[in-house]
Amino acid sequence: MGLTGLFLIGFLVIHVGLNACIFADLPFLNPSDNGEMFNRAAHFMGSTIVTRILELVLFAGFILHIIQGYQLEIQNRKRRGTAYSVGLGNRGSKWYSRSMGLLGTLIFLFLIVHISAFWVPSRITHDLAPVAYGNGVEMHNLYLRMFEVFQSPLIVLLYLVACASLCFHLLHGFQSAFRTMGVHNKKYLTMLKSLGYGFAVVVSVLFALMPIAMHFQWIKPD
C-alpha cells in the first residue's frame, strides 16, 4: 500500500501542476491565454509514447492500490471479531486514519466519473472540439470541455466532496506511506508529517478551486 501510495502521490504532483495551468487564464494573469497553456500541456501528455506508457503504469498503480486497499480492509475487519460495546473512537486515533477504506471508496467512485468525463473523450472517443495554436498543431480543447462539465452544480458538488475525501485520505496516507516504507528517523518523521499536511491541503484546495473557478466563471473560454 505504501509503495503504490507514494507512486500515486507523485502522480498527484504532476496532475495538479498540469491542471493548474487553467489558472493562467485568470484576468489578472493572462486574460488572452484562453486555456492555451493547459491545452498544450494536456496535448503533450497524450502525444508522446513515453507519456502513454507512463499512463498505463499509472493505471496499474491505481488498480494495485485499490485492490490492495480492499484486501487489507476486508482482512483487517475480520481480525476484530466481536465489536466493543463502547469504542475507543477519537481518543486513540483520528477519524480519517480509521476511515481510509471509506475515503478511498469515495475517491474511487469519483474517479469513475472523472475518467468518463475527461479521459475517455480525450483518449478513446476523441469527441472533443479541436483547437489549434500558432504552430498549426490541432489538439483537443479540454479547457472548453472542463468549462462545460463544471457548469453543472451537481458535478461541482461531487468534485468538492472528492477533493475533501482526497485531503483526508492524504492527511493520513502521506505520512503513513513513509512509515510503512520504514522511515523511523524522528527528525524526518516530523518533517514528513508537516510536509504531508501541507501537501494534502495545497493539492486538495488547488483541485477544488478548478471546478469552482469555472462554475463561477472566474475563468472561461472566450
Binding site: N76, Y84, L88, G92
Partner: protein, 269 residues
C-alpha cells in the same frame, strides 16, 4: 495570594482526598470459549477512591461468592503494573481512562459517584475469550518463540563496558524492552494488529550488538508468525501508541518495517 505551601496542600487535597462512591458496573460475562457472552449489571456500593480497579472486582466477587453466584473471572498477577496480566477494556479504553497506566494501577479516584463503568475483555480474533474477562493471549508467547530471543552463545557475564553500545540505541532499546506484553495495543487497534508488541520485541534486540546475528531471520519469522496467529495489519492509526501503558513508540513499527524490507531481500535463507 496563598503561599506555595498552602497551594500545594490544596492540590494534594483535591487529588488525593478520600471519598466513597456508588458505581454501576456493566461487566461482560461469558461462561466459556464457545458460549454466547452477555453484559450483566452490578451495583457496587461504598467503593473507596483509594481502591484499585482490580480491588473493586475483588469486592464484587466476594459479594457474588457469598450470594452463591459465579465470580467474575479476570487476569491479574503482580498488581504493580509490570507483569502485563491485567487486561480489561474499561469504558471504551484498554486499562481505563488514565494515560500510561495498567488496570491494576488504575485507582477509583478516576471515577465519580454514580458512574456507570463498562468492562469488556480484549476483543481480537487472535485473543479468544476463555471466560468473562480472561482472554487466551498465548499467541504472544508463540510470537516470542518465533524469534524474540538471542540464541547465540554470549559466554559468561562480562564487564558492562566491554561491549560498546551507542547511548541513543541503548535508550531506545530499553524503552522498547519495557513492553509488558499486556495486549492493549491489539485491543485498541481497529485491525487487532500486534505490530506494536512485535516491533517492541524486534527493536529491543535489533538495537543491541547481541541481537545482530539473528536480526534478519528474527524479523522475518516473527512477522510470519504474527500473520499465522490471525492478527491484523498495521495501518498506522496510532491507537496502539495512545493506549500503551508503557508508552511504547509507534516509531518501533517503522523500524521493524525497515528491517523486514531489508531482510526480505538480503536474508541468507
Amino acid at each position: 495570594m496563598p503561599s506555595a505551601t498552602v497551594r500545594a496542600g490544596w492540590c494534594v487535597r483535591f487529588y488525593m482526598e478520600h471519598y466513597n462512591m456508588n458505581l454501576t458496573l456493566k461487566v461482560w460475562r461469558q461462561d466459556n470459549k464457545n458460549a454466547q457472552g452477555r453484559f450483566e449489571t452490578y451495583p457496587v456500593k461504598d467503593v473507596s477512591s483509594e481502591m484499585s480497579f482490580l480491588e473493586v472486582i475483588d469486592l464484587l466477587n466476594d459479594r457474588l461468592v457469598k450470594e452463591g453466584g459465579d465470580p467474575i473471572a479476570f487476569d491479574h498477577d503482580c498488581r504493580e503494573g509490570i507483569c502485563g496480566m491485567c487486561s480489561m477494556y474499561i469504558n471504551g479504553r484498554p486499562h481505563g481512562p488514565w494515560h500510561a497506566t495498567t488496570t491494576c494501577q488504575l485507582h477509583m479516584r478516576a471515577f465519580k459517584d454514580g458512574d456507570t463503568v463498562v468492562v469488556e475483555p480484549w476483543r481480537a480474533q487472535a485473543f479468544p475469550v476463555i471466560k468473562d474477562l480472561v482472554t487466551d493471549r498465548s499467541a504472544f508467547d508463540r510470537l516470542v518463540q518465533a524469534g524474540g530471543f538471542v540464541s547465540v552463545n554470549t559466554g559468561n557475564a562480562v564487564d558492562g563496558n566491554a561491549i560498546p553500545v551507542n547511548k541513543d540505541n541503548a535508550d531506545a532499546s530499553f524503552a522498547a524492552a519495557s513492553c509488558i506484553a499486556c495486549g492493549a495495543c491489539v485491543a485498541a487497534c481497529k485491525n487487532a494488529s500486534a505490530s506494536l508488541f512485535l516491533a517492541a520485541k524486534v527493536s529491543h534486540l535489533a538495537l543491541l550488538p547481541q541481537g545482530q546475528p539473528e536480526r534478519k531471520s528474527r524479523v522475518l519469522s516473527m512477522v510470519a508468525q504474527m500473520d499465522k496467529e490471525g492478527f491484523g495489519s498495521c495501518t498506522f492509526t496510532g491507537a496502539c501508541e495512545a493506549v500503551c501503558p508503557k508508552e511504547i513508540s509507534i516509531t518501533n513499527i517503522s523500524r521493524m518495517h525497515k528491517d523486514y524490507l531489508f531482510a526480505g531481500v538480503a536474508a541468507d535463507k
